[in-house]
């Protein structure tokens, strides 16, 4: 039952997020607004246990959720084979640059202002 209540909260927040995004023409996707809404809802202690139960279950298998989109890569094999090597170089190198820059900048900033607690 806690899982079901938690799932209901996720879906309610996501639906509210979709509504807000459309009504106010926000540039953010519905689920992201839903995530921000859930952060406020979590201030209410009764919500925490059910949300924790469903969030832990869902996030433990987060990678499974990317499989259907991933398999979709096969529908673009023609384009991929035409520009394949060049696109792969651009994607691989830029991913490494992104990883390195993020990690180094965060390390430098956290080192300069160490956690006071």
């Amino acid at each position: 039952m806690p899982i079901l209540i938690g799932l209901a909260w996720l879906l309610v927040c996501q639906s509210a997020g979709e509504l807000l995004a459309r009504l106010l023409r926000l540039p953010l996707p519905g689920p992201v607004i839903g995530m921000l809404l859930l952060l406020f809802v979590l201030a209410w202690p009764r919500v925490r246990e059910p949300v924790a139960a469903v969030a832990d279950a869902l996030l433990a298998h987060l990678s499974l959720l990317f499989v259907p989109v991933g398999v979709g890569v096969m529908t673009h094999l023609a384009l991929l084979s035409q520009y394949g090597m060049r696109m792969l170089v651009a994607i691989v190198v830029s991913t490494w640059i992104g990883l390195a820059v993020t990690a180094l900048v965060l390390r430098a900033l956290l080192r300069r202002a160490p956690d006071s607690a």
Binding site: Q14, A55, I91, W96, V101, L110
Partner: protein, 237 residues
């Protein structure tokens, strides 16, 4: 034999096929991943996608027929993004104290990934449409599709680039971080979430709870920054 063929035709046209194939393959890939001590090369998404793509190609099953079953899993991406609020909420005090550093690192890393991808693609002579689909590649797939549409890219391709980016980060990130050296679990997780969105975050969540929370945070920061800034920046090009 005739019966068997008819039975297969029936099974392969119901949504049950796509759903069963996805979950069974993933469970097997996950078991392999655990057996080899969660080595990055054994990434369960990578192997599940490869096995399913070969399976569909060999059996001549079109992707839309597969997706009619797999969509039930795909749908959960939305609630999963909402669920990221939970690891964030658990570390709210620490995150509030470090908010400035977190936003700055997310902006620097996200911009570096996006600009370098477009610049490299441009230098290598890729057409404009592909460049516009490459720009949002470090944002989680469903959001990357929306951004690509706004800035004149191809949504389906943006999803493909995002998935490839996620896999590359999840598979090779550990080696890159080890080569740089002296990086905390927080910095590693945050970098994975920034440059490799949900697939990188999934890897971080499996390896270490601290890395996982920072990856979840980074994923959210990237979605916020990219959906707000990318359409503005793209207007200049």
């Amino acid at each position: 034999m005739q019966d068997f063929v008819q039975l297969w035709v029936y099974l392969s046209t119901t949504p049950l096929f796509g759903l069963t194939a996805t979950i069974v393959t993933y469970v097997l890939a996950q078991a392999l991943y655990q057996r080899v001590g969660q080595a990055p090369w054994a990434n369960p998404v990578l192997w599940t996608v490869l096995v399913l793509a070969v399976l569909l190609t060999v059996s001549g099953t079109p992707y839309p027929r597969y997706f009619s079953g797999a969509q039930f899993i795909h749908f959960l991406l939305g609630p999963a993004v909402v669920a990221l609020a939970w690891p964030l909420w658990q570390r709210r005090g620490e995150l509030r104290r470090r908010l400035g550093a977190i936003m700055l690192a997310g902006l620097a890393g996200g911009a570096a990934a996006s600009v370098s991808a477009v610049a490299l693609g441009w230098a290598l002579g890729l057409p404009d449409e592909l460049l516009r689909s490459l720009a949002p590649k470090s944002v989680t797939a469903p959001v990357a599709m929306g951004i690509a549409e706004q800035i004149g890219g191809i949504p389906a391709l943006a999803a493909v680039f995002a998935v490839l980016t996620g896999l590359i980060g999840a598979v090779s990130g550990k080696y890159l971080f080890d080569a740089i050296g002296g990086l905390s679990m927080q910095a590693r997780g945050f970098a994975l979430g920034t440059a490799s969105h949900g697939i990188g975050a999934a890897r971080a969540l499996q390896v270490n709870p601290d890395a996982g929370a920072y990856a979840a945070l980074a994923l959210g920061v990237q979605v916020l920054l990219a959906s707000l800034l990318m359409p503005l920046v793209a207007r200049w090009f």
